[in-house]
Symmetry: C5
Subunit: 96 residues, 5 copies
């Protein structure tokens, strides 16, 4: 699962039926010490994440394996909000 930061929102009225009611968040992959990299993309929120939070994203078919996204054409879902990360015995991130 990629580590990512929630950086914004996406709004769409014209979309496939199975996406109605889904919260679409703009996210950007990040390092364990919260440095963003790569192009932003959109994921469905399954845990009530908010802007600025560091989260875990599952991509591919895993995107359909939450109650919010079952059988929807979703290829990226936010499945966890991170409390902390440590690498090499050092804490690299802690949720404020």
């Amino acid at each position: 699962m990629r580590i990512a930061r929630v950086v914004g929102n996406a709004v769409s009225t014209i979309k496939v039926d199975s996406l109605h009611g889904s919260k679409l968040l703009v996210v950007r992959a990040a390092s364990p010490s919260d440095e963003p990299y790569g192009e932003p993309f959109v994921a469905v929120d399954a845990v009530g994440a908010g802007e600025g939070e560091l989260v875990l994203i599952s991509e591919g078919s895993a995107g359909r394996y939450t109650p919010h996204t079952a059988d929807a054409p979703v290829d990226a879902v936010i499945l966890a909000i991170l409390d902390s990360l440590d690498v090499g015995g050092q804490m690299t991130f802690r949720k404020h």
Copy 2:
């Protein structure tokens, strides 16, 4: 889901049966402020998107989870037309 702009059309008469009737659009990934990047590719349109519109694309097995593409060998589908995007509290895109 990747943010992408619809940039053109693809026409094919010789194709697998399950693709007949599908609208094939040429798309290019884009940033939240609508700057295109990477190589164009082709996606099946599931929401009536038109050239120039900013859309959301689902890739991989998710491509089969719309009524238009069920059980078809499709690995990229347009599942939403974007109204607006905001990043860091700033609106980066609004549909004209």
Copy 3:
């Protein structure tokens, strides 16, 4: 689906049973104006494509969703031969 050009053939006698009878073509991803990029790879042909033709390739699990490749360990299939492509209102490719 990636746009690609058929550039050659692959021959293999020792292969999993489910691949016997499949036509293995060497393909290379291409831009809408038929400029190849990236490393060549191999796809199963599901539409009778020939060398030099511009085609659409589906990758991942979609590779199993043609009659030719059902339940075979195939992750890339040629599902359409392109007649034409246009981008920004300009025709960028037309089949000879």
Copy 4:
């Protein structure tokens, strides 16, 4: 399957139900001679791996094919701890 080194831990209290009880490890892809490359990401541990160990990671839908991760939105799982690797007849890695 990618070769990777376990480099740390991820802790999350707010996550989808199906992830509760899963051990989330931070991993980084590595060469056969244990040189890390690319951005760290998070995988579910299915074999009791510990920090510093060289492991095999399966990604995509394979992430759901262990008893620990069945039907969970997991796209990366640690499925083996490596004892040794050899390349070109030379041992490039041996577990201490």
Copy 5:
């Protein structure tokens, strides 16, 4: 399917049950003229491939569609040993 060369072996005693009995080979992607590129990774052998051979690798869910790997968390399988490859009418590889 990616063209790849078998470059070595991986040994693991601690692994998920469904992987026991599988032959784990280190492979590296290669061009049609057998020039390797990218980072080595590990694939399950389904056809008796040996070191130095040029093979076809299927990745993603296709990795589970051989008798050897059914329902195992495998995301890369060797499904064919290549006899020959030709590109642009020229033979670029022939098995010795």
